[in-house]
Symmetry: D2
Subunit: 138 residues, 4 copies
């Protein structure tokens, strides 16, 4: 089952088209990934201090199906699809949370497949994901 | 040949990893698409007033190869790959402009394939791209 | 007593200095104002549809005392200081929520005094705040 | 005379009110300060590597007079008002560049007084501005 994280739409997220600016879904996806990691006991700031490594995004595929608007509440998911030695692939969705009809199926607004690689923070070179981290993820 | 647009990296673009935050390349790509359209005589605000339509991104594929940092100057390209009745596909790159060695080949930092669809701004429903707009694009 | 709203710091909020980028506190303050209004039953999107008006910021005074960092949780406050016919003044703070020591006094990171005016959304001209809105605020 | 820097308004800068989101003027002001420093031969990334210090904003006063919109071109100014041992005060304006009537006086959209302090980047503690830097500024 996918990890879920609520994201409220504020003025900062919208653009003059009256909808959420397309780049901001990458922010929402990143928030959900961070909270998914946190839910597994993984704090990225702490991890960096301990291991010198950070995750960076190497690939992203995004589909935008329907727009979100000011005051909407989204549910953003994160689900680990694949684990490699130096990278993870995470599938993510942004769904509209219809607060007036919580029992209705949620409408899919956008979805993404995000690959993140583990790099040494100083050199930005790819490195193996620490084994303790892989254990926490599995 | 691809349209080129310079983008300077400021504090706002970077994150605590010391590099440009991954979502911001979608901003840079959007700036270059806007300037490419402007170079063809197409102003989006004006177009909306005249036709009631706007472009929205429906798909994006992104690859992140190397990081950009504070004070870097990027060259961001936009090249029309495919024109449909209701959508355009644009290939874009962000390259590092080495100001100390302008004759060296530029290093590719990230690239994207972006599909944009034409929608009615009020309803957000897909519509045919106005023919005068298609003529300006070809 | 001031309205309080939690704000988590993500990668998107930080800059290459390793701290939260200064403009982002204005986003956090806006989120807290929006949630304060929502807590009083005031939805801005709905209000705009009903009255044609929106709030815009006309003045902001900001002091930055200490930096926030990745993974920090802030408590952002909003307190109505003054109500005029066409504007409101709101005092806001961003405090560090020390999750390890919840009984310690929270450290003040930044504070702002924000004046927002009521304008007609189409013309952007100042207008009187609707009386039903003023009643909800008092 | 004030330093001037052009800033074009893109979708990323606007919000659902159809105007530039208020926090983004702090980005524009920061860009103009960075370019003003660069025009004096001061590169912030280089300065940090050489001295270990960075500038951080400690105070900002902002007035918002008129909105900017998609496709507008702004001229953003930066003028040094006061130099202290550990801080600088800079006055900044965002003006609308009327491209159709370049000889008309430019309309003032917003203005700010920004105080920036010099800090050690590792400790974030205030420090004296390096004397070579002060010389470049005067």
């Amino acid at each position: 089952m996918a990890f879920e994280w609520p994201v409220r739409i504020y003025w900062e997220d919208t653009d003059a088209g009256g909808i959420v600016f397309y780049a901001n879904y990458l922010k929402f996806f990143e928030r959900a990934r961070t909270e998914w990691l946190r839910s597994l006991g993984i704090g990225q700031q702490q991890l960096r201090e301990q291991t010198g490594g950070i995750f960076v995004v190497t690939d992203a595929r995004l589909r935008y199906l329907r727009p979100a608007r000011l005051d909407d509440e989204l549910i953003v998911t994160a689900q680990l699809q694949e684990t490699g030695r130096a990278s993870l692939t995470i599938v993510q969705q942004a769904l509209l949370n219809n607060e007036q009809a919580p029992n209705q199926p949620r409408v899919l607004l956008s979805e993404g497949t995000i690959r993140i690689g583990w790099v040494d923070a100083a050199s930005m070179r790819p490195a193996r994901i620490p084994s303790t981290l892989l254990e926490q993820l599995s």
